[in-house]
């Protein structure tokens, strides 16, 4: 695939399936990638022609999620080894923060409470203060946690059985709202809007739902879902999972990445598709906008996501692209 001029492929990508990637909220060129190669990788996307890897953090088992904390030196990861770790970019060493009873699927950092949240297949979420890991509190959930996202003081917990709980981080004793996903199939990921009005969730069956936090009927009326990431192959509409969502930090629009290798930009308010990028060679595994909204990192890797029943992932499918957005690209209608 020829590279469009405004996009480059990151050098030395992970060696195995990419589980997630995220730009630093403070530095537009720090990209953190977690992978099934049992490592988390920290890249500088600005270095050299094609960026360079700064650090790799080896783990005991596959890493399922990673995120930044307050600063670029606060790096967190979690994975199949049941642990939530704080990683030190200087030494590449990890420091265990919390242990779940099963693999930790998702973590996210909340800047308001300065706490790290982790969700695991053991059906619990933990709220961790990275400065004093001893004060970790755990909250049992009814199902396996598939995805977490937080903004302001709100935590959205997407679980199996299409269950979605909203928590108020200031009062974690009970869910603020219990919801059922608007989508009929398994929730794949959930992401909060930067303006803390609501969240978008995606399912394995080519759909994205946009919902709002405000429980009032009026606000709930505004929620909607739409189909995406489908392609016609031999007269059959093949529906791909929507693996990943990322909100634009400035415009509030969002990108979705599907098993079909397509990345689309959406304006959630105007209910419009803004852009659809040229198809990538493999399923989109991760998306993240840089904090200044100028770059979009796109991680691809094959597997169950694009319909390989055995989950096989050819190494050539594992790639990270960084796309430079044009002026106004990603800007919503009427913005």
């Amino acid at each position: 695939m020829s590279q469009p001029a405004n996009q480059f492929e990151l050098s030395s990508p992970p060696e195995d399936v990419i589980s997630s990637l995220t730009f630093s909220p403070n530095n537009p060129s720090r990209l953190l990638v977690s992978s099934w190669d049992k490592s988390a990788h920290l890249y500088d996307t600005n270095a050299g022609l094609n960026g360079s890897k700064l650090t790799a953090f080896p783990h005991a088992a596959s890493v399922l999620d990673c995120c930044f904390g307050e600063t670029d030196s606060d790096v967190f990861s979690a994975g199949l080894d049941w642990q939530v770790q704080q990683l030190d970019p200087e030494t590449g060493k990890g420091n265990m923060l919390a242990i779940h009873e099963s693999a930790v699927k998702s973590i996210c950092y909340n800047t308001e409470t300065k706490s790290l949240l982790s969700g695991s297949w053991d059906q619990s979420i933990k709220q961790i203060d990275p400065r004093s890991p001893g004060s970790t509190s755990s909250y049992a959930q009814p199902h396996k946690i598939f995805s977490l996202s937080t903004i302001s003081h709100i935590l959205v917990v997407a679980m199996s059985s299409r269950s979605v709980y909203l928590y108020d981080l200031r009062n974690m004793s009970s869910p603020w709202q219990r919801r059922e996903s608007s989508l009929k199939f398994m929730t794949r990921t959930v992401r909060c809007m930067p303006n803390a009005q609501g969240y978008a969730s995606s399912s394995i069956e080519g759909r994205v739902a946009v919902e709002f936090f405000d429980p009032s009927d009026e606000s709930q009326m505004r929620k909607y879902a739409f189909k995406c990431h489908r392609s016609t192959e031999g007269g059959v509409d093949v529906i791909y999972p929507v693996n990943t969502l990322a909100f634009h930090p400035i415009y509030g629009t969002f990108a979705s990445g599907g098993g079909d290798g397509v990345v689309s930009l959406w304006d959630g308010m105007a209910k419009r598709r803004l852009r659809q990028y040229q198809k990538y060679p493999a399923s989109i595994a991760g998306l993240s906008f840089s904090n200044n909204g100028k770059h979009l990192a796109i991680g691809t890797s094959s597997g169950f996501e694009d319909g390989h029943d055995d989950g096989a992932c050819p190494p050539e499918s594992i790639k990270i692209f960084v796309r430079e957005l044009q002026e106004g690209e990603g800007k919503g209608k009427g913005q």
């Binding site: 080894d81 590449g92 794949r188 093949v238 319909g307």
Partner: protein, 1160 residues
């Protein structure tokens, strides 16, 4: 028939459902006549048609008659008589009545003719869709307004509709109008008033006037106000008719008003002005007209298509409903093979297919909401799912500590090692690896990356004793020792990989070169191991960071422990191999630090370098495994050590056996293992195991074994008595999961000390596979092929004492959460087979059979209940029942629980298997026999009595020990008719069970809802929070608290279904006590007069109303065992005297045995 004076009612009897009752009654003779004519319908029809034509003719000329109504009345009454079933196309009664009534609507002189009114009322009662409207219409047209009949009928209708006040108004109006007969109307009104007194009208009933003026706007305007208020339009008295005046200008509006139900002031219309359209409500319309919007025009059927909802015919060709996914041409969808059509919403859009395999995601068909995310699938696929990382870390910590200790011994300065040791990257599966995996390597293998010293120690412990002399030379051992020492100081990061790998290889190699010739199976193991390691070696091109890491940690303890880990790994891989184990044993004693396993040396020379495409031979175990499970991706990811524990070190005995029956060698392994390390030995501690000398592995280290089950601590641990109730609540739901979990935690002695109870920390994950198999089996039922059998899943439980293994045969029963399967106990089966093979002359074989304690009390066929989610509860109750009842008669009637295997995801309860069916089967057999001979469709009373006695005795005994069954029903009682020789079984029933009667009875199963009252306060009361139905006891249904009632009701229900052949239904009877009287429950059915009604009614009375018998009990509290016992004794007495009457109880039982036997 009708010729006789007498009328045969037989015929009427047969048709009585089809005879429409008439208020005036029917003539039996006429009925018979018309019914008998049915025997020749063609003839009858012609006759009727002729008669109808005759009437029609008469009607045509009726306008000349003095009394044209008379003809109609005759016609109608003839029709009613001839067609007793009322309206039909033949009779045309509806049309007839409509015509008759409409003809005279405007005939002034018939308006108050009772015959005419009767026609109307007939029409209204039988056909009118809006009777109230029809009456209003009559009132409007002043029909029957002078007749009491009108008011009576109308009032009765309103009263029936609950409009009592309006009914009253109607009576009033009638009296005001002097309707005749006045007396009758007055009388009816008085009766109405009396009824009203008893049952005053509800406040919310419609208070609008019966007929008229609800809407003054419509009513008052044209017709003046005076009448608006009165009922029935201010009475349609004739004198008012003249007032009917000038409604012309409002014509349109009136028309609208007319069709509103509450049309006012019909009376204010002048019905006399009949011809004028202004009289409004000209016509009430025939039923057909009124319903015209709802009728579909009749059309010929030819060429008609039955439309299906939501499907457009246009898209029919593209509909994918029956499309077979697998047959989809692959080139069309290159990346997607066999995906389920999920969104098959019928639409005219293109067919859709979900790219991902939903079958994988929703793998558990029983529980469709339990999804597996892609990451879980991937983890499963890679064998990284369900690993207990806490345990691994624990062991790593321990290993690290030991390492540190060792190093400090040498005076090296130690750095505090962090918890997890980062060696994983070295072993991360590479693409190369993936390829090999696809070739069929068991996916579980990569999980075996970590083992620690602690684990190895245990293995040593286990394998320590036997066969020391076999295998390797001392040289190898020495090497090991030396290298062990060197290793710590010398190993460099770069080298460490290679070294590690060689370890495994070296061991494998040594094994092969060992002097002891192993059999082929072992040999193969060795090679497979070797190749796996070389595989790792081959793809050694570590990513840059890895190298860095290596540099960083050079010489640090982490490397050491990593190596230790590898060393251990090798050991584990080798476990099944006799030689290696032996090697390890050899190693052990030489080591000066017993806690430290050897850290073997690099033997680089021995690194074999197999070609890239080397296909590693599979372990036979894996091979077997794969044939069992169809979906490889759903393989249970049991870690290899779990599997290996089954094939423990060889013994001389085993070798012999293996040589004899090579095909069975694996099973004989297990046999021998049992001989050596069965928990029963520990349990009894009578004899030292015959083959394992002196050193029995201590149970303690075994418990730390990384992946195996926790072995059961021997029950010899002194039982500490339960101290007081665990649950202090006075009211609770005994089935509550958290409550039960709480109980399980606090049980004293804990559950895991129970013999046969095994708690596994791992997931088992075989449930779906077993269910699929059972489903497939039931589908292919009858088509008995060996093919099926070869596919039968074998469930193996690994326990500290060698484990057990079962082959699934078929599904026996299916509960909501717990299917029950028939399984073959492979251990028993093998033992039996072997004994057979060895022949009867071989005393050893027989000895072996009895010697193996594992199979004592076990049978070849057993039942396995699979529980999901797992719960040890049923096991607990069953064991408690057996323990508390000790050796007694009732204990025979409670199913034995052999083993309980509790996994993190599923639970397996091994139960005794009884193949004679349930009491429900008996009931159904009896029902099926209905009509044959003298059979009445229910079980014989003697048999019911016998089984009831058994039930009562068992439940009574359980209750006396504080145990409730909680779910007694006919399908939870197995029949227990043991086969006993004819001569040991007397025909005469003995209540003490003598003369063979002990062997006949019942067995209670399904204790999943059991309750142990000793865990609760004595005054506890239970509340059921689940949905109840008629088969739940009255207390539950009425949301009252209950305890023992649940079982009493269950007993009553069983006895009821045996006696009557149907489910129990009860009614509550308050008796004559007004207020405060306790309800008395009774069954709704009545006993046959030849039954022992006294006995049965007292039994039901006690069982349904146990609280009323409490006063007879000691301490005046439940259970009412005394009353129940009285009932039972009464029954026993009767049965003892009457058991030989008729067919005789013994023969009844024998016959049932025969039928039940045939059924199987």
């Amino acid at each position: 028939m009708a010729d006789d004076d007498t009328t045969s009612f037989d015929q009427i009897e047969q048709h009585k459902e089809n005879i429409q009752p008439l208020a005036s009654g029917r003539s039996a003779r006429a009925l018979v006549a018309s019914l008998s004519s049915r025997s020749n319908p063609v003839f009858a029809r012609a006759e009727h048609a002729a008669k109808q034509a005759e009437f029609e003719e008469e009607l045509r000329g009726s306008s000349d008659l003095d009394d044209p109504l008379e003809v109609w009345v005759r016609y109608v009454s003839w029709t009613q008589e001839t067609f007793p079933s009322g309206h039909s196309t033949d009779s045309g009664l509806l049309q007839l009545l409509e015509r008759a009534t409409q003809t005279f609507v405007h005939e002034q002189h018939y308006k108050n003719d009772p015959r005419y009114l009767r026609l109307w009322i007939q029409y209204i009662q039988n056909f009118s869709d809006a009777p109230r409207e029809a009456f209003a219409y009559l009132a409007r047209h002043d029909i029957g307004q002078r007749l009491a009949l009108f008011y009576e009928e109308y009032a009765a209708l309103l009263e029936k509709m609950g409009r009592k006040k309006q009914a009253g108004e109607i009576y009033q109006t009638g009296m005001e109008n002097n309707a005749r007969p006045t007396d009758r109307l007055l009388r009816k009104f008085e009766e109405y008033m009396q009824r009203l007194e008893h049952d005053p009208p509800a406040d919310d009933e419609p208070s609008s006037p019966a007929l008229p003026a609800v809407r003054p706007a419509l009513a008052a305007k044209p017709f003046g106000g005076g009448l608006g208020s009165g009922g029935l339009g201010g009475s349609p008295a004739p004198q008012q008719q003249s007032q009917a005046s000038q409604p012309k200008p409002k014509q349109a509006k009136q028309k609208m008003a007319i069709f509103s139900d509450a049309d006012p002031a019909p009376s204010s219309k002048a019905p006399s002005i009949i011809e004028k359209p202004t009289s409004g409500w000209e016509d009430i319309g025939t039923l057909e007209q009124r319903k015209k919007e709802n009728t579909i025009e009749a059309r010929p059927w030819a060429g008609e298509v039955l439309k299906q909802e939501g499907v457009k015919t246009k898209s029919a060709g593209k509909m994918m409903i029956f499309r077979d996914e697998s047959s989809l041409p692959k080139q069309n969808v290159p990346s997607v093979q066999q995906n389920v059509l999920s969104t098959s919403l019928p639409s005219n859009k293109r067919p859709e297919r979900v790219a991902v395999n939903l079958e994988l995601i929703y793998a558990d068909e029983e529980n469709p909401t339990e999804e597996l995310s892609f990451d879980e699938l991937r983890a499963i696929k890679r064998g990284q799912y369900g690993i207990d990382w806490n345990r691994i870390r624990e062991e790593q910590d321990e290993a690290a500590r030991e390492q540190r200790r060792k190093n400090t011994h040498r005076g090296e300065v130690m750095e505090e090692p962090r918890a997890p040791i980062k060696v994983k990257t070295v072993l991360s599966p590479s693409p190369n690896r993936g390829k090999i995996k696809r070739k069929g390597q068991a996916p579980a293998s990569p999980t075996m990356t970590f083992h620690t010293r602690a684990a190895t120690d245990e293995i040593y412990d286990i394998f320590n004793q036997p066969m020391k002399k076999t295998s390797m030379t001392g040289e190898d051992r020495d090497d090991d020792d030396d290298d062990d020492d060197d290793d710590g100081s010398e190993s460099g990061g770069e080298e460490s990989d290679g070294e590690d790998y060689t370890i495994g290889t070296q061991v494998g190699q040594a094994e092969e070169s060992g002097p002891e010739g192993d059999d082929g199976e072992d040999d193969e193991d060795a090679r497979s191991v070797k190749s796996e390691w070389s595989d790792f070696t081959l793809r050694r091109d570590p990513p840059p960071h890895e190298g860095e890491e290596g540099d960083e940690v050079e010489g640090s303890p982490e490397v050491q422990s990593a190596e230790a880990g590898f060393g251990k790994l090798a050991i584990h891989r080798d476990e099944p191999k006799a030689g290696n184990e032996a090697a390890i044993h050899r190693d052990e004693p030489g080591d000066e630090e017993p806690g430290l396993p050897f850290c073997p040396a690099p033997h680089k020379i021995l690194i074999p370098s197999p070609p890239d495409d080397f296909d590693p031979p599979r372990l036979p175990y894996h091979a077997a495994k794969e044939t069992q499970s169809q979906g490889q991706s759903r393989l249970p990811y049991m870690t290899p050590i779990v599997e290996k524990t089954e094939s423990l070190p060889p013994t001389t005995a085993r070798r012999k056996d293996a040589a004899k029956t090579p095909s069975r060698s694996r099973m004989s392994d297990i046999m021998d293992d049992n001989l050596m390390s069965s928990p029963f030995e520990e349990l009894n501690s009578v004899l030292p195991p015959p083959l394992a000398p002196s050193t029995i592995p201590a149970p303690a280290p075994k418990e730390r074994k990384p992946f195996g089950a926790k072995p059961v601590a021997a029950a010899r641990a002194k039982e500490t008595a339960q101290k007081g109730p665990i649950i202090q609540d006075l009211q609770c739901n005994p089935m509550d999961e958290s409550l039960r979990a709480n109980i399980s935690d606090k049980l004293q002695p804990p559950l895991k000390t129970y013999e046969g109870f095994f708690e596994h920390t791992t997931k088992f994950g075989r449930g779906a596979e077993i269910k699929r198999f059972a489903k497939a089996m039931s589908k292919r039922d009858g088509e008995k092929t060996t093919y099926n059998i070869s596919q039968a899943p074998i469930v193996e439980f690994v326990t500290g004492d060698g484990g057990s293994s079962y082959t699934i045969k078929r599904e026996l029963g299916k509960g909501a959460f717990a299917p029950v399967y028939l399984v073959e106990n492979n251990i028993v089966a093998d033992a039996e087979d072997e004994a057979e093979e060895a022949g009867s002359d071989d005393e050893n074989a027989a000895g072996l059979l009895s010697l193996n304690k594992k199979i004592i009390g076990r049978t070849r066929l057993e039942a396995m209940k699979m529980e999901d989610p797992p719960s040890p509860w049923e096991f607990y109750i069953m064991r408690q029942a057996h323990r508390r009842l000790g050796v007694s008669r009732p204990v025979e009637s409670i199913l034995k629980a052999h083993e309980m295997h509790l996994f993190a995801d599923e639970g397996y309860l091994l139960l005794e298997y009884r193949d004679q069916g349930t009491i429900l089967d008996l009931v159904n057999i009896a029902r099926a026999e209905v009509g044959t001979g003298t059979n009445t469709g229910v079980m014989d009373e003697q048999l019911v009595m016998f089984l009831s006695i058994e039930l009562l005795r068992t439940v009574e005994a359980m209750h006396s020990k504080g145990l409730l069954h909680g779910d007694l029903k006919a399908d939870n009682c197995l029949v227990r008719f043991e086969n006993i020789p004819e001569n040991t079984w007397s025909a005469r029933y003995r209540r003490d069970g003598a003369n063979g009667w002990l062997e006949k009875g019942i067995t209670l199963i399904d204790f999943g809802r059991g309750i142990d009252m000793k865990l609760f306060q004595p005054t506890v009361q239970f509340i059921a929070d689940w949905k109840t139905d008629n088969q739940d006891c009255a207390e539950m249904r009425e949301l009252r608290p209950w305890t023992y009632q649940v079982d009493y009701f269950g007993l009553a229900a069983i006895i009821h279904s045996m006696l009557f052949g149907k489910y129990i239904e009860t009614t509550a009877d308050r008796g004559n006590i007004l207020g405060g009287g306790t309800k008395k429950y009774k069954i709704t059915g009545s006993f046959k007069r030849y039954w022992q009604t006294e006995i049965w009614s007292s039994v039901f009375d006690v069982l349904l109303n146990p609280l009323q018998y409490v006063k007879d009990e000691e301490g005046a509290c439940m259970p009412v065992s005394k009353s129940v016992r009285n009932c039972r004794e009464e029954m026993e007495t009767w049965l003892e005297t009457n058991c030989e009457k008729g067919v005789g109880l013994k023969n009844l039982i024998r016959r049932m045995e025969g039928v039940l036997g045939k059924k199987r």
